[in-house]
Symmetry: C2
């Protein structure tokens, strides 16, 4: 084992892009991401091997600023959920844009972020298992690393306590609240008390630093407000009981669909200056035209600050693929499949069509839609007589960025002229 000489803070990996990634052009040696721009590639000149997943820089930056502006207006903090993209270059963009930290879901993800320079992580999940605890323990050797994870049972507290006691390390934890029929999190006062009692027994190792919820397991605003109010009440109660041991107290919630309601309830709670409200949306950065567009439309309709902002999030992640066959008058087959795109919340939506050699992409006919995806193929429903042929490029917007990002190891970043100006690597 190599435990002794684990190099915290030293990048023990090669960050070059290999010529073996899909969706790129051809190059003959591993490239530093910043070399990508020098290749002079352009999507419309067919310099990329399709299918490819691309990011549009302007839209991405627009979304970055939009969310930071929203967060600032509420006087709360942003810890974007990094599991969505697992792209350290985007974490960096988010942190430089004003984010308080990065949220992650697993010890592996935390390690990837740390190795790329992230120094504040809220792991919005239970830390479980010997090797996972060992990963975090090694990162905690760096005293500048500010790390939080969740607890929701006495058994889990016990396991953490034993492990970190043996390491003589302190771990910052938040109690996760959950709802009956939901995911993780303590369901009732009895479970809260059980966790508190366990934490007391390990108070030298485990520092209670706040309360966490994931409201996205509920589906309507009233239930969510009630759940969030419960989090506020418990936070206030534990403050009065002096249960918190950190310098500051975190109160955290918010996925990508209800962050406005969380901002509203938590910021109005008047818990005092010691409490930091931390929101964790992840999908806002690329947005989509499916589940999160729908959620965002509701946010724009109900939230006074979002209404005032006179713009919304824009879809910044797009897939491009070739028409490979038009075997029937109302069906084309596109070289794009489940290996390339999320399909759990709606299939990709054809929005642009480009015929190589022409001036610019045009809007795809509104009647076009994917009716089925296989591993490597999609069935595109067209109308008889539509102008479509083999070799045409189709641009697809998507639904559910998370499950699209994890299909790609390197996503070209494009400017508005479709020039490839950068590349974003993922680490799943």
């Amino acid at each position: 084992m190599t435990e002794g000489n684990f190099m915290v803070g030293i990048a023990a990996f090669d960050s070059h892009i290999t010529p073996l990634n899909k969706g790129l052009g051809t190059f003959d040696h591993p490239l530093a991401p910043e070399e990508m721009a020098k290749l002079g590639w352009n999507l419309l000149r067919e310099d990329l091997s399709l299918p490819t997943a691309v990011l549009y820089q302007e839209k991405l930056l627009h979304n970055l600023h939009w969310m930071q502006q929203f967060i600032t207006a509420y006087g709360v903090k942003l810890a974007p959920h990094g599991k969505t993209t697992m792209a350290p270059k985007l974490f960096d963009l988010q942190l430089k844009g004003g984010a308080w930290g990065i949220t992650l879901a697993t010890a592996h993800q935390v390690s990837v972020a740390y190795q790329h320079g992230v120094r504040r992580v809220l792991m919005a999940n239970q830390l479980v298992g010997k090797q996972n605890m060992a990963i975090i323990s090694r990162l905690l050797e760096d005293e500048t690393f500010d790390f939080y994870c969740l607890v929701d049972s006495a058994e889990q507290v016990e396991q953490l306590g034993k492990f970190f006691s043996a390491k003589d390390q302190r771990l910052q934890v938040l109690i996760e609240l959950g709802v009956e029929g939901g995911r993780t999190g303590v369901r009732d006062a009895e479970q809260v008390q059980s966790v508190l009692t366990a934490l007391e027994a390990w108070h030298e190792q485990l520092v209670l630093c706040g309360i966490e919820v994931y409201e996205g397991v509920l589906k309507d605003g009233a239930s969510i407000r009630s759940f969030l109010q419960r989090a506020v009440d418990i936070t206030r109660k534990l403050m009065l009981e002096k249960r918190f041991g950190g310098k500051r107290i975190l109160l955290s919630g918010a996925g990508s669909a209800w962050y406005d309601v969380v901002a509203d309830v938590f910021s109005k709670a008047e818990l005092g200056d010691l409490v930091d409200v931390v929101l964790r949306p992840g999908c806002y950065l690329t947005h989509d035209v499916g589940i999160y567009r729908e959620a965002q439309q509701q946010i724009l309709a109900r939230n006074p600050i979002a209404k005032q902002m006179h713009s919304s999030l824009q879809p910044a992640l797009q897939l491009w693929a070739y028409v490979q066959s038009v075997p029937e008058k109302d069906r084309a087959i596109v070289a794009l499949g489940k290996r390339d795109a999320a399909f759990d919340a709606g299939l990709p939506i054809p929005v642009l069509r480009y015929r190589p050699g022409t001036a610019a992409p045009v809007a795809a006919p509104s009647g076009w839609q994917l009716t089925k995806m296989m591993d490597q193929h999609a069935y595109l429903q067209i109308a008889e007589g539509d102008d479509i042929r083999v070799g045409d490029m189709i641009g697809f917007d998507i639904s559910h960025p998370c499950l699209t990002f994890d299909k790609w190891r390197c996503l070209p970043m494009l400017n508005a002229e479709y020039d490839i100006i950068d590349a974003v690597q993922t680490f799943f």
Copy 2:
């Protein structure tokens, strides 16, 4: 651009495993895959960060030999579909085990296989797009590279003809037959004729080498037999018309569910010594306990050679994850999600349970089942009073290997004692 000095045949990439892959243990510098065994890791000693996806070597080799024995009994050839695993180490195993070549679905996949030493590829798909053609063109600079791809329209033939004419290269193609309501492939005699006419115009660049079908778009044996007979009839007709230009003629079909019927129909066709029947199953190597177990049970029931073999395929790919919370008496939450496993053909199935520190895994209670998966979590239905707690490890068999493989960049290979004896990298 680097077109001039593209190094065909030279591995212009680093094959080391980085410490940034999920599902592995901790190591401090990139490792050659063969170094993995020296680390002395064992799954049951919690040396891996869960969730992880592991391969069981004995079962994998059993499946490898089973299929090769089946293929040999029919006197046909095997070109396993490599898109399933995209693991060159497994391609190598398949080729050394007797496979004629490797089947792939995209130019990118072909390039990955070539760069790892594969020298015969059937790309069971249309080759479309400038950069994709350029990838193949570069590989064809190596005259030892035996490559075939599909055509199914005059337009596509025209585009290939122009491109490879400009390169002064020859490309071996098969005509793909398809069915009305299906995927790619010519639907009728008129479309066949249209492709043949286009091929004649480019006969110096495009060499017609055979006929290809994917019978898996049909769902019943009778339709499939009729489709396969059509392929035999067209092959015979084109042989009489001397349409084929290669030294040998390929007749290829078979996904992972109907390979026995394809073997039966094609091997009985008596097309003569010039014809090689090539089958392309992909999922047999790891198998599963979902869609492909069901398909295999039907094969064992109907196929005389499979019946004689007195064994079947075994699930060789398993996911392991921790119980992270048991918040309700009939619900546990497992740290395994859509980021880790296929979910399009049934959710993973809990089959083993292991409590760290105990002797060995035991069978999971038959009543346990996943009822839902989110990105990073699964809901496990249990019964009140079941012996389960936070930190327990659950082993899951899966349905649909393809969409599980593409969630992992490195899969530990285990022996029967759960020692990590090797690692298999994927290149998606």
